[in-house]
Amino acid sequence: MTMMKKLLASAVASALMVGGAQAEISNKTVKIGYLADMSGTYRDLAGPNGLKALEMAVKDYGGTVNGSKIEVVSADDRNSPDTSSSTVRRWVENEDVDMVAGMVASSVSIAVSKILEENDRLGIISGSAASSITNEHCTPNHIHYVYDTYPLANGTASAVVKEGGKTWYMLTADYAFGHSLESDVRQVVEANGGEVIGAVRHPFPTQDFSSFILQAQASGADVVGLANAGADTTNAITTASEFGLTQSGQTLAALLLFLTDVHALGAETAQGIQLTTGWYWDMNDETREWSDRFMEETGVRPTMVHAGIYSSALHYLNSVAAAGSDDAQTVRKQMMDTPINDMFAKNGTIRVDGRMVHDMYLAEVKTPAESKSDWDLYKILRTIPADEAYRPLSESKCKLVNM
């Protein structure tokens, strides 16, 4: 009887697999929805230029996949989970969107991935930071591609502690992202023999950091860690420089800093700051070649998010072609089975929890003397190998692990 059951089960399974492989591309169209902050705080790091990167990928792929056309639609998420949810619901229910790309605010990504799960469509998240996206919030319907808070803390904080920055004072944005980054940093600092001696949680957003910088100075900590993002970080760095924080012997550690932020600050203000990044445009000929094309399109150098959107879209389209289907699970499996080797990542792999693991980099902002142009901003100090960078699956709370 058991034998019979097993046979039956495997017959059904293989029938399903054959069915999967033969499944065609629905409506003869692969439709990609690009959802990102197009007008608010996170506009520059993803935004309209991320859409350009996505369109570049579609164009480079040739505009069709297995004879079916590729279509791109886009929307402003307004950094609101509500707005984003209704947009994505409309996309998947009425407009037959197969994959949603972009996605910046972590709250948006978490909300959207639930809708994608309900409707069995695919999401590739490139802009969000929260490591919980592939931890407690993981679903079989999304992939987190570029980076998350785990390597940010792991890379920058451990490097700074190892260089002698033993005591830390944290300036933390008072919302979910800041709290999670702060706690990741605390763990890393303590694991490396350092100590967090104080923290101040500032409202989001804050324009004037002078009061908080004074408190950080008075703490006497070796390192002032910035667990915030965007304009909060740039304002904090500017104020720290104005109040002579580094001249008085303290080090600044920015835990999340994008190329667009550093560009806004300029090498003079940002010099010497260490940061962790998933990619940098000036790493090798391949990255430079792609960045030059991106710059021709947009007038700016790409952030790691822009590069990730391009890379993930190409990987998606290749996988659709290889699987001969736009069915979410079939494509996701194909994406997981194929290592990623392009201008963004070497031997990148997508794990069962949806995390794309790849090498990360510890960088330092160049001095004005070292920087040859407006966008010549980073020195890559060290590669953080993929298996060191991300939270190991053994510590995962994702429901898909050990299923």
Binding site: S39, G40, T41, Y42, R43, D44, L45, D174, V200, R201, H202, P203, P205, T206, Q207, D208, S210, S211, F212, L214, Q215, Q217, A218, G230, A231, T234, N235, T238, T239, E242, F243, G244, S248, T260, D261, H263, A264, L265, G266, E268, T269
Partner: protein
Amino acid sequence: MTMIFGVPLAVLSGQLLIGVINGAFYALLSLGLAVIFGLLKIINFAHGAMYMLGALVTVVLFDLMGVNYWVALFVAPLLVGAFGILIEYFLLRRIAGQDHIYSLLLTFGVALIIQGVLTNIYGVSGLRYSMPDLFKGGINLGFMFLPYYRAWVIVVALLVCFGTWFVIEKTKLGAYLRAGTEDSQLMQGFGINVPLLVSLTYGFGVMLAAFAGVLAAPIYSVTPVMGSNTLIVVFAVVVIGGMGSIGGAIITGILMGVIEGLTKTFYPPASSAVIFLVMVVVLMFRPNGLFGKEA
């Protein structure tokens, strides 16, 4: 070390000084709002956008023509003020005498348009503006490091505030202004060009905002959205001081800077809400604000 509520005295003194500096800045911004509301009865929701324009024009003038900080301190407010006059002439004049809500909605719309267009051009990461060489560095006061630039901001902001109060409350020109808005027909009968006076007053209020913007350019990220958060705080300051009270705006501005600074020291998460809390309490007991005239 002497401690006050668990905070060393030295740290507290530093925070108080920072509070006064930020307060002077709030005073300058709320002064423009108070002038515009007090004399023209226009609720100027474009004030934050004008502050942002002051900073942005400073950066752009430098990038395009190498115009330095000192020149920008005069030129940027004049340019933005002229733009304000255009808005008054082409838009606000058409709704003069209508309910306040119309001016609020109109100026809010104008602000959104300006902000949206500039965001498309300049992005949101912020534009770079170097501090003038003269102000680089600072002085160690013992209890804190005071950047020279912050010291300059407090001096110049207070001077401009006092000057404006003096002109409006103590001079003949100020008397014309106040009378012209009180009874424009009578003033016109005396041969005074009231519409021109209104245009110039709006332009002047806008100039004050733009001037604060120039002062802000070297110390904050200059972005098209920088005015929108500041605006709400400044409105609260004006409401607490008493809508339209020039002196009230100045005193309350400084006071709120200090209260906010102290909150940042003792309970930082409340620092963005504390001014609104004060506003609620003040309005409960004095509906016209601390220095508002009885309705």
